[in-house]
């Protein structure tokens, strides 16, 4: 599976017969101010050490783009993509990613490299970054596999809604459940990353 969020447009050669709507996407884009205001208004008790409100945890698991960075060898960062996210009962986060696309990232995580994951919604540009420590990789559960399939399908629908051609989104969001790896970590901070004034602010009560 390949997931991602689209800011660009449909390439005509992706689907030559497809009509191309002229409506711009994200007509009501999300904003950093809205994110910070929502957190202020949130009545959730996040609890000691928790960085995610229930709403943010739901957003991360809602079928959005999941992109990853880890510190690689020689402090050279590595970029990659995940398929899905799960927030575990003990507060740890689990990213499901394909082994064949992410060998270097998995190897760095096994070396205890710190991690960053950004969740981004194509329709609104709403983006949240989570910083994590204590990574560990393992085999995914049946529930993990189901989550990967469901969230990838959700992202694919969003990408089609923002005008990407089906033949591209199907390849981009394809999931091979037998190739999945679970990457767990402790989230230690969350930041608003929606483009605009206020982007980069830490999300904390």
């Amino acid at each position: 599976m390949r997931v991602g969020v689209g800011l660009g447009g449909l390439h005509p050669s992706c689907d030559p017969g497809k009509a191309k709507p002229n409506m711009p996407r994200a007509q009501r884009p999300h904003s950093p101010e809205a994110e910070l205001a929502a957190l202020s208004a949130c009545t959730d008790d996040l609890g000691a050490g928790s960085v995610l409100s229930a709403e943010l945890a739901e957003f991360c698991q809602s079928g959005v783009s999941v992109i990853i960075a880890v510190g690689g060898r020689g402090n050279v960062p590595l970029s990659g993509q995940g398929c899905a996210c799960r927030v575990l009962e003990d507060g740890r986060m689990r990213i499901l990613l394909l082994r064949r696309s992410n060998h270097a990232i998995i190897a760095a995580a096994d070396q205890d490299a710190p991690i960053a994951v950004t969740f981004s919604q194509p329709l609104t540009h709403r983006s949240i970054q989570i910083k994590g420590i204590n990574p560990a990789t393992g085999e995914p559960t049946l529930s993990d596999r189901q989550a990967a399939v469901e969230q990838s399908a959700g992202l694919e629908q969003e990408l089609r809604d923002v005008d990407y051609a089906r033949r591209f989104t199907e390849a981009y969001c394809a999931v091979d459940v037998d190739d999945l790896v679970a990457l767990d970590f402790d989230p230690v901070a969350a930041f608003v990353q929606t483009p605009g004034p206020g982007a980069g602010a830490e999300l904390r009560k």
Binding site: L7, G9, H11, P29, V76, L98, A116, F168
Partner: protein
């Protein structure tokens, strides 16, 4: 092991699928964000758009290292590039190329009020690593190189500049499938570009003007690099360009816009390629489409090649013309018939025929000179050479574009049915034919 070469993966650097940028601070804490596009610079370098002073930027300045994953929107092939930050450019060709492209992406994604280019961050590409993905077949596409070759073969048959430009636009339609295109030439004196040939519009717009630096056409001419945009953006439309011009145009405003620009109302894709002569802008080849993302790196390369050949062909046509000896100038007797009133405004050399605006600038000065000589002596035959040598016309010494100005004048007179015809009668010679009696007024 096969090494991936950056030019081979340019299609992944179009900004159609956003890229993933990872950085880290000096303590190794990573940061990851989506970026609108990675710009291909040359086989060893790319550039990223610097839009906000954020964590990513702080990390890049501190560690000078980044990792970016890019996606080919046609095949879903993916690559991870290891980047080393070199410098930031805040003006110049690369900056303008990226600013135009970003404007299109921002507009398309509803972020036109948020995305703003502050600089072009240039990186050396240290490594390109293919990332395993589900790759799909690349869709069939026109071969731009073959189309360029077929076009170039046809250029050699053109015997004058008008035929050359018309052939060029016909070739774009025939071989590239480009339905809407035009050629504009630069007036070095007024620093404005004027349309000399167009194809695929409801009206020709011959003589319509674009200011140097305005819109994709003006920016391409000013920066001497191809500029292209893959989506509709109001920032780069002709309407926005003429509004910019209006602020400084003053008296010239009315004439500068008296001829409507023929461009599409809402183009989704635009490309402007400068026609260069010894690295100086001679004109611009402009094409546009109602469909998004029609002009990629390959089309840019092909149209640049074509423009190079057009430039060489123009130079050759001018050389052949200049080499011809000046012919004696016989007088005509076409002073009978209806009265044709010409009014000339010295302030900008604009010329009106029976109250209809025809032309201004150097082309206007040429028309006025021809009309005066014709009215005084009945003279009909003229040569390009004598115009070139006339100090009153103030043609620039270098790249005077005289033939393009005459072509413009010829086509404007013909379109307006002014009763005046410029009839080419050999290389470097033409006849000034008047279907009546000229009455001249000067203001």
């Amino acid at each position: 092991m096969t090494t991936t070469w950056l030019p081979e993966i340019r299609n992944a650097l179009e900004g159609i699928v956003p890229s993933i940028l990872a950085t880290a601070d000096v303590d190794g804490i990573p940061n990851v964000s989506l970026i609108s596009h990675v710009q291909y610079v040359d086989p060893d370098h790319v550039a990223l758009s610097y839009q906000f002073f954020n964590k990513t930027r702080r990390n890049l300045l501190a560690t000078r290292l980044g990792s970016v994953t890019v996606v080919d929107p046609d095949t879903n092939a993916q690559y991870r590039l290891t980047l080393e930050y070199l410098e930031t450019q805040t003006s110049g060709p690369l900056f303008e190329i990226m600013r135009a492209k970003l404007a299109g992406i921002a507009s398309h994604s509803g972020m036109q009020d948020v995305f703003r280019l502050l600089g072009s961050d240039v990186f050396r590409v240290r490594e390109i690593e293919p990332v395993a993905s589900e790759v799909i077949a690349r869709p069939m596409k026109r071969n731009a190189l073959a189309a360029a070759r077929r076009s170039c073969e046809q250029f050699s048959r053109a015997s004058d500049m008008g035929e050359l430009f018309d052939t060029l636009l016909a070739c774009l339609q025939q071989h590239f499938g480009i339905e809407h295109a035009m050629v504009l030439m630069l007036d070095q004196v007024s620093k404005r570009l004027y349309t000399v040939s167009s194809r695929g519009y409801p009206f020709s717009g011959i003589g319509s003007e674009v200011g140097l630096g305005d819109g994709v056409i003006g920016v391409a001419a000013a920066q001497r690099v191809p500029i292209r945009i893959g989506h509709m953006t109001s920032q780069y439309t002709y309407r926005a360009a003429v509004l910019d011009s209006a602020r400084a145009a003053g008296l010239e405003w009315e004439c500068a816009n008296a001829i409507a620009f023929p461009g599409l109302e809402a183009p989704q894709s635009q490309i402007a390629v400068p026609i260069l002569c010894e690295d100086q802008t001679m004109g611009v080849l402009f094409a546009e489409s109602t469909e998004p993302n029609q002009f990629g790196y390959d089309e840019e390369d092909a149209l640049t090649l074509i423009s190079e050949l057009v430039s060489a062909r123009v130079a050759l046509l001018q050389k052949e013309e200049t080499a011809e000896r000046m012919q004696p100038a016989p007088s005509g007797n076409a002073t009978a018939g209806k009265a044709i009133r010409l009014r000339h405004y010295r302030v900008d050399n604009s010329v009106f025929v029976d109250d209809v605006y025809i032309i201004r600038g150097v082309a206007g000065a040429i028309l006025w000179k021809l009309a005066r000589e014709h009215a005084q002596s009945g003279r009909v035959a003229f040569t390009n050479r004598e115009l070139r040598l006339d100090p009153a016309l103030r043609l620039p010494d270098y790249i005077d574009n005289l033939e393009a100005r005459l072509l413009l004048l010829q086509r404007r007179l013909s379109e307006r049915g002014a009763g005046i015809v410029i009839d080419k009668c050999g290389r470097g010679r033409f006849r000034f034919l008047v279907e009546g009696k000229l009455l001249l007024e000067e203001t």
